[in-house]
Symmetry: C2
Subunit: 401 residues, 2 copies
Amino acid sequence: MNNARHITLPAGFTAAGVTCGIKTSGNKDMAIIASDTEASTAIVTTRNQIVGAPITWCRTILPRGYGKTRAMVINSGVSNVCTGAQGLKNAKIMAEETAKRIGAEPQQIIVASTGVIGHQLPMGKVKLGIAAAAGALGRRRDSDVTQAIMTTDTMQKSAVVFTTIGRKKVTIAGIAKGSGMIAPSMATMISVITTDAAITPAALKKALTAKVNRSFNAVTVDSDTSTSDIVAVMASGRAGNANITAASKDYRKFETALGEVCNELARAIATDGEGATKLIKINVQGAKSDKDAEIAAKSVANSPLFKCAVHGCDPNWGRIAMALGKSQAKVEADSLSIRIGETLIFHRGRPTKFNAKKVSKYLEASEVEVSCDLKLGKGNFTALTCDLSREYITINADYHT
Amino acid sequence: MNNARHITLPAGFTAAGVTCGIKTSGNKDMAIIASDTEASTAIVTTRNQIVGAPITWCRTILPRGYGKTRAMVINSGVSNVCTGAQGLKNAKIMAEETAKRIGAEPQQIIVASTGVIGHQLPMGKVKLGIAAAAGALGRRRDSDVTQAIMTTDTMQKSAVVFTTIGRKKVTIAGIAKGSGMIAPSMATMISVITTDAAITPAALKKALTAKVNRSFNAVTVDSDTSTSDIVAVMASGRAGNANITAASKDYRKFETALGEVCNELARAIATDGEGATKLIKINVQGAKSDKDAEIAAKSVANSPLFKCAVHGCDPNWGRIAMALGKSQAKVEADSLSIRIGETLIFHRGRPTKFNAKKVSKYLEASEVEVSCDLKLGKGNFTALTCDLSREYITINADYHT
């Protein structure tokens, strides 16, 4: 994967990732993803009430969450959160420096930062980094970009989907960072998606919003939500298809393809949860509503006792029933059924006589599935999480403020 | 403490704890706390939608949560949850057997069970255990009772408070079990409180409800909520004070003393959180309402990232601000201040230049305090939790279903 192209595969984009010294490790820490021309753009940002300066900047330049931009600049190492007026000024300077180097306006530059919070960005290094990244923009070093946006991630995360819209080949590619502090609202998660599809900003925003809820927002690693999350999608229009609007017959096809990219990136984030040894999918069906299904699924996904049980390969249906029951979603023990993989372990309020050794063996896999049928309606939702290991504690007890 | 009296200190109560073989360890697993005569009684039970058969029994005999009872019978080892009609029958049999042995009616017996769920109680052993405990009732072996209700607890938990009501000496004593699956609604927590005060059942219920919210319900070890929680208080009236009603001038004094017992037991539960090395108090003040303060305090208390940081003695104000911001409570970064112990570490949206080494040293203590002032109103709440350690994972990954 290290040599594979992804973020620059859609026509019209260049990218670069460089080291400018924000991270003391010497790892890459500054990235630019640029569109040759104005790109239709949509963003979705964190729901945390406390947000970083870059989020404030993005909400200022894209007040409705969509519009036209030219590039996204991302640094890692320092997140520019809780940094006051100086922090806001620095986020704006990042946009200005990037704009100057690529020949655009500051209002056309999306800014994102990730890393420790409460520290001011070292602006001397940041400016040199932006100049270096702008100078290195190209189509051959996409893995430099994924590296430059990583913090505690243990692997690079990217996805590419090809589709055909109006006889034109369309490519949608995405990268993401995030492994801890991931929760219902896309915590400490940054994702950039590029596509050469021609689509209006409003239609792009509609598609992104629709897909984020069942992908990025379905992931919860530790129920914690960061102050800096952003998913941005830029569409260059270079595929040459007829411009997609929300009313086009092609809209649904584009939305579906975008959803595939979002799903793949979301899965990668859950798999890379801090200290995780396995990916856990929690399907809830038969809820009174989709919202109830989401609440119930996330209650299981966020239960430390459940996540420890899966880590220990213990088919602990009691902790699943407990987590469903404690949620605000409507649950009735007597209608509830629970499966681990294919095995029915709990049926209508009672455990079944299942083969515990067999189910325990199933739980040793790197990807496992728990399905809960509430039998109260038609609502469904799938949440993604990972197991809770000693390594999670080690990573998060020793991380330095 | 092992030889100290507590639960039988208030006049009119006897108790016993015995081994009857429900636990394979051979540890004590059956307890009875009995009142010589009918006692005013109040209970508060779990908010989980899935409840054990003993909870159903208690709600049947005390539909309004208060009334008159004669005894409480508690077993550990098997919790009698998700056990269907047979489970309900078994809970009733426990009441019947206890009633028969002490000369009471089954409807006068509170039943509680804790331990693994989904298994039927071994009723032969249970009946012999009840007979043995009833035969051993006395005032000299209170620690047998605390032992008999323990599961993963590492220490016995009891509290005694003395007060004077209408010139009469009144004693209130309590015991509790619970260390894991503790959360907003008193998860896997059983507590019995005895008092010799004369008080009406309705007044007793009012006092218990008022105090449970700021004590037992302020504790969260892992955000998980059990199916079996119950707090019961029995008042023998033997102190000889004028019968307290909710309108009595003595009511407030009794409620305050009851609150002290609840607080001490709640603190003991948080301190004994699975794998915990320290007790964490999270004070939130200046919230728009008390409810908002509770939501904000519990959001911090339930954050695995925050709990790991405290475990690692890291003065990580960022994780505290993040946890406040992600909650449903109204929070504004620019008005927010955070203290760890006495040290102001975050003020109006920015970290202060605090001495990180000094604060880290403070966090090494066995009891630490975090105070957050939202400066938005007058609401306040204190949540209790513990740090998150590797040992928590070990306990909960290896616990067998």
